[in-house]
């Protein structure tokens, strides 16, 4: 059992040392949200549609005593993503969204609303979102994922055809 214990210790130490540190913020923008100054950070820049990234929101004086919401709206469309500003899972002293993606390319308006002791503030940031990364299209690759279930269905259909259970005596017997 000693070797098993050693393997388990190595695995746990390895898994315990995984790095989930805040991704390097590659680009920062400053937005005036009423009386509050907000720094918006992007872990991927330029931002591409369908490519996941972290977005952080850091008020200059910290998030203490503040609450807020965001509204990401694509120009000339009805697409709008509304969320509360929540603490970033990788750094609890700031706000942030981890692993989100912007669904479509185009000009997005990021509207911020912050409430705090100095009252309510609203600010906006224009964000150009580029085409999705070059790669296989979802429409072409989605059918690949269906192959295993098609195989199961073909196998079941073939077996059904061989047995023809509705005509089989056992289907009507206990």
């Amino acid at each position: 059992m000693k070797w098993l214990t050693r393997v388990l210790i190595v695995v746990l130490v390895f898994l315990g040392n995984l790095s989930f540190a805040e991704e390097i913020i590659k680009h920062r923008e400053t937005v005036q949200v009423g009386p509050y100054q907000l720094e918006v950070g992007f872990s991927q820049y330029p931002v591409r549609a369908e490519r996941s990234l972290d977005i952080t929101f850091t008020p200059v004086d910290g998030i203490q005593g503040l609450s807020g919401t965001t509204k990401f709206k694509l120009a000339n469309s009805k697409i709008s993503i509304d969320q509360d500003l929540v603490r970033f899972t990788k750094n609890r002293s700031i706000w942030g969204y981890d692993l989100i993606s912007i669904p479509k390319k185009g000009t997005w308006n990021l509207e911020f609303t912050i409430n705090g002791k100095q009252g309510k503030g609203v600010g906006n940031l224009k964000l150009e979102v580029l085409e999705r990364p070059a790669g296989p299209s979802v429409a072409l690759t989605q059918p690949l994922g269906l192959i295993p279930i098609l195989a199961v269905l073909i196998l079941a259909t073939r077996a059904w055809w061989r047995v023809r259970p509705t005509r089989h005596a056992e289907a009507n017997g206990w």
Partner: protein, 363 residues
């Protein structure tokens, strides 16, 4: 001709050679590990979030797939090359023109596990292009989910050999197959804005699984046992996922999201009153048999009456409140699922013609 050994049959009638028995045990353990890891991974993303390939949930789910695949491959290799006598054992079927021999369940399961690991690699490639996932319905994820369904279907078939079954293992594998397929397919459909799947799938697939068990084993109470196993997986995940998620997050120096769902997602989609439905369905079958009722109407009744009980709890209860007449449709779907499950049970018992001859069953 009706088989009339319904109650006199011992619980398990199938004896495996030792290598198959060990292989089947590891295979079942592997599919359970993958089910557990995938369910925990969904919880991790929902409540904590950060992702790398080497999280503990990922490690468990891929360990499970590797274990399943290794177990299947080993059984196939031993069946094919160990000795001529093994090739002649009941249930062995030739593959690739007789190059390999193995029981069907290990073949299907092996392909399922290999598919799972291959789509895992595809998922890594996808992460490189699009970053770590924000949705469960990406093409590689679809492949992972459907490969697992293939693997767990193989695991179910491993414990059926014509009219003989290793009944308790078969029941556990079927409960796992349902416990995985139902929530993951529902989650996928809802990402395609097909929330209707939330309402249709339990009514169709749970009676299908329940009556499949009754049909394969010819022991109606095994249907109830399967629902109890399903419920035990459900409660295990319900209580364990939140604890290990917050514990693992703390271990890594992370904390839960400000707005976690507060609900273990996968077990939430596994109806908790399934054993009640199982009790009703099993009871109907036993009563119908004792009274000599016709089989198919009894099967339809068993599915139709059981299906509405899936909708009483939690989320699904809202459906009943807002759309009570929908229960009629639910009952009809339940009857259809039950009929399909019963017929598929007959298919599973009689699809291998050589076994038919060995076991002396007339087709």
């Amino acid at each position: 001709m009706a088989a009339s050994t319904f109650n006199r049959t011992p619980i398990s009638t199938l004896e495996f050679p030792r290598f198959q028995s060990i292989g089947a045990g590891f295979f079942l353990l592997g599919v359970f590990a993958t089910f557990f890891g995938l369910g925990w991974d969904v919880q991790w993303h929902s409540d904590v979030g950060p992702d790398t390939f080497w999280t503990l949930p990922h490690s468990i789910l891929y360990f499970g797939a590797a274990l399943s695949g290794f177990a299947c491959l080993t059984v196939v290799l031993i069946s094919s090359f160990a000795s001529r006598e093994i090739r002649k054992l009941p249930g062995m079927i030739p593959i690739l023109g007789g190059m390999f021999y193995a029981p069907i369940g290990f073949i299907v399961g092996g392909f399922g596990a290999a598919g799972f690991l291959s789509f895992g690699l595809f998922d890594q490639y996808w992460h490189g292009l699009f970053g770590f996932d924000v949705s469960i319905s990406s093409p590689p994820h679809m492949g992972l989910i459907f490969s697992y369904i293939m693997a767990v279907s193989g695991c179910v078939l491993v414990f059926i050999q014509g009219r003989e079954t290793k009944t308790l293992s078969f029941v556990i594998a079927t409960a796992l197959a349902l416990g995985f397929t139902l929530p993951f397919v529902q989650m996928n459909l809802s990402e395609f804005n097909l929330e209707i799947g939330l309402f249709l799938f339990p009514a169709l697939f749970l009676p299908l699984g329940m009556l499949f068990v009754a049909s394969v084993t010819r022991q109606p109470w095994m249907l109830f046992v399967m629902t109890l196993v399903f419920a035990s997986f459900r409660y295990l995940c319900w209580f364990v996922f939140p604890i290990i998620t917050s514990g693992y997050a703390g271990f890594l120096g992370l904390s839960l999201r400000d707005q976690p769902s507060g609900i273990p997602t996968i077990p939430y989609l596994m109806p908790m009153l399934l054993p009640l439905a199982g009790l009703i369905s099993g009871g109907i079958l036993v009563f119908a048999k004792s009274r000599g009722w016709r089989v198919i109407p009894s099967v339809l009744l068993a599915g139709g009456l059981a299906a509405p009980f899936f909708y009483i709890d939690l989320l699904l209860g809202q459906f009943v409140q807002s759309f009570p007449t929908g229960l009629v449709g639910v009952a009809l779907l339940g009857a259809l699922g039950a009929w399909l499950g019963w017929q598929l049970g007959v298919v599973a018992r009689h699809a291998n013609r050589e076994l038919e001859q060995i076991q002396g069953v007339q087709s």
